[in-house]
């Protein structure tokens, strides 16, 4: 797994944190598409976890905030949510089949294209408006909520009893998503 990018201290705002996650998502996609065997299974597992944390945080914190900004943002946000839904569908199929399934390669490329295009849309049309309209303190405070989500998500279990491939097949259960959601809600208030 690639080393985590340097995390620049407590001054980091939520936009920077989400950008860092986008960068890590890109790196993990490169790793998944460019490797095989255990390495690939582990990378995919990391990717699934990070996507769960990241998209949940955006749905809970970022998109609702964007709706409240001046101007009519609903159409824009609805488009982002539709992209996230579509990516989740593809992801679900990939998780169910596992990294060794037929069609995993094609599926992961499709997922990559839709997730990365989604991320670029956010960076171009949504994040700049947050920086423009939301006070810097508030954006820093929201970074704390997103970090709480990261802490609430399970890390990959130690390799041992189960193979990494088996872990990847399990994916992120709904209860975990709920845990991430709770962590964000209590930290964001």
């Amino acid at each position: 797994m690639p080393e985590a990018p340097a995390t620049p201290g407590p001054n980091e705002d939520v936009v920077s944190l989400l950008l860092t996650q986008h960068a890590r998502i890109e790196e993990l996609f490169l790793l998944v598409t460019g490797s095989t065997g255990e390495t690939r299974a582990e990378a995919f597992n990391d990717l699934v976890r990070l996507l769960a944390v990241h998209e949940t945080a955006e749905e809970e914190v970022v998109h609702p905030l964007s709706r409240t900004l001046p101007g009519d943002n609903d159409a824009l946000i609805d488009e982002r949510l539709a992209e996230e839904r579509q990516a989740k569908e593809t992801l679900k199929v990939l998780i169910e089949g596992g990294v060794d399934a037929d069609g995993f390669d094609e599926g992961v490329l499709l997922l990559r294209t839709s997730v990365l295009a989604h991320a670029r849309h956010e960076e171009r049309y949504e994040f700049p408006r947050l920086r423009q309209h939301v006070p810097a303190d508030r954006l820093r405070q929201l970074a704390t909520a997103v970090r709480a989500a990261e802490a609430a998500a399970p890390t990959r279990p130690h390799p041992g009893a189960e193979s990494a491939t088996a872990n990847a097949v399990v994916g992120i259960p709904l209860t975990v998503i709920d845990r991430i959601r709770d962590a964000i809600r209590s930290a964001a208030d």
Binding site: P5, A6, P8, L19, A23, F29, T33, R112
Partner: protein
């Protein structure tokens, strides 16, 4: 050797494209060979120069029939530019494309410097390449700050990222940017092509930066694009002054078309992506057609044969995108403190240079210095890719705390 003058190419009336043909699929930014991106950026710059040159020619041409012929070929060049530049993906950000532009400036200029037969001209390329090399490093640091991504994603490890001649020292009095031209009648034809190629690439860089810079919201990004775009403008002055102003419009047109043939042929031979290779192949056939027309115009209006302008030996060896790490390290070690005075090169900070520096910096650090300070502040270090060991210049080595040293 490939001699474009011996080929007919595609007839003019077969060169127009429909919307469907113009609507090309872009490259995949996550899986592209960085040098494929470099070839696209280079050919975009070449086509932009073909268009701008043709407009200038038309404005200076009283012959209506020639103006109509120029207009038609210019339309084709425009479609070529749209196809080539539209190979770049919408998924890439402006800064990612910028990193690609500077990678082009580094590895294209380095290749040309290594293959330039004339020592005075070679010195101009060796001098210029160290400046774009520094831009790559400044933009890479901006990229990590603004987009939280690493330049390695774009340039891979093909080109190193570390300080060149520091951008702060690149701002000179414009008088000193003007070089002495080659002599059109005695110069090696390859020198004409080299100069036109680098001039076109730098011109496109300057135009790009001066237009995209204000798209950023971050003050440091806006400021850095302002600063570097002014250097790129000076690079255009530097390289365009190498051309002999005594070349007339007919021979300049011929050289332009011949140069396009050389470059498309070079890239066709080297291209790793078969879909992109097919574009280079098609465009080569188009350029061979343009060259025939330009040769006819030259014969008719100037009374000369094309061989008198570009020689009869065919194009030079293929221009290649390839790593130039050792060559660049050698230049860093030997030419980092070089400056320009008049049409020559000196090592001291002379009076006109100091005067210009005072006007611009006014006692403050320029954006190109601030961007590194800010990066160190936020990340605890600066962004570099040093694959071949520490920086060859002691004073430009990374300070303590560098993640990658």
């Amino acid at each position: 050797m490939f001699n474009p003058l011996e080929h007919k190419g595609l007839a003019p009336d077969q060169q127009l494209r429909s919307w469907r043909e113009l609507n090309v699929d872009p490259i995949d930014p996550e899986a592209v060979d960085p040098y494929t991106r470099c070839r696209i950026i280079t050919m975009n710059g070449i086509e932009v120069e073909a268009i701008l040159f043709s407009h200038q020619f038309a404005r200076n041409c009283p012959d209506d029939e020639v103006r109509r012929q120029l207009a038609y070929t210019r339309y084709v060049e425009n479609q070529q530019q749209r196809v080539v530049n539209w190979l770049l993906p919408g998924l890439a950000s402006v800064l990612e494309t910028t990193l690609g532009y500077e990678q082009v400036a580094v590895d294209l200029t380095a290749w040309v410097a290594r293959h330039e037969p004339d020592p005075y001209l070679r010195q101009a390329y060796e001098f210029g390449v160290l400046e774009d090399f520094d831009h790559l490093y400044r933009y890479a640091n901006l990229y990590e700050m603004v987009e939280r991504r690493k330049a390695e994603k774009v340039v891979d490890a093909l080109t190193e990222v570390m300080p060149g001649r520091p951008t702060v020292h690149e701002h000179r009095h414009p008088f000193d940017e003007v070089r002495a031209p080659y002599d059109k009648d005695s110069v090696n034809p390859q020198s004409k092509l080299n100069a036109l190629t680098i001039l076109s690439a730098e011109q496109q860089v300057a135009i790009y930066y001066m237009n995209v810079g204000p798209q950023y919201m971050e003050p440091i990004a806006r400021q850095l694009y302002q600063e570097i775009s002014l250097i790129e403008q000076e690079h255009v002055t530097h390289y365009e002054s190498l051309l002999d102003a005594g070349e007339n419009w007919w021979e300049r047109l011929l050289t332009h078309e011949y140069n396009e043939c050389w470059l498309y042929h070079s890239f066709m031979e080297q291209e790793s992506d078969p879909r992109i290779k097919a574009v280079w192949e098609l465009h080569l056939q188009m350029e061979l057609g343009h060259l025939q027309q330009a040769a006819d115009l030259l014969r008719r209006h100037d009374g000369r044969e094309p061989e008198e302008i570009v020689g009869s030996a065919g194009v030079p060896e293929p221009l290649l995108f390839e790593p130039n790490k050792q060559f660049l390290r050698h230049l860093l070690a030997t030419q980092i403190d070089l400056n320009k005075l008049g049409e020559g090169y000196v090592r001291e900070a002379h009076e006109r240079f100091e005067w210009m520096q005072e006007q611009l910096h006014a006692g403050e650090k320029p954006p190109s210095e601030q961007v590194i300070d800010m990066h160190r502040e936020q990340f605890g270090d600066e962004y570099r890719i040093e694959t071949e060991g520490p920086h060859p210049v002691q004073s430009l080595r990374a300070a303590e705390g560098d993640r990658r040293a």
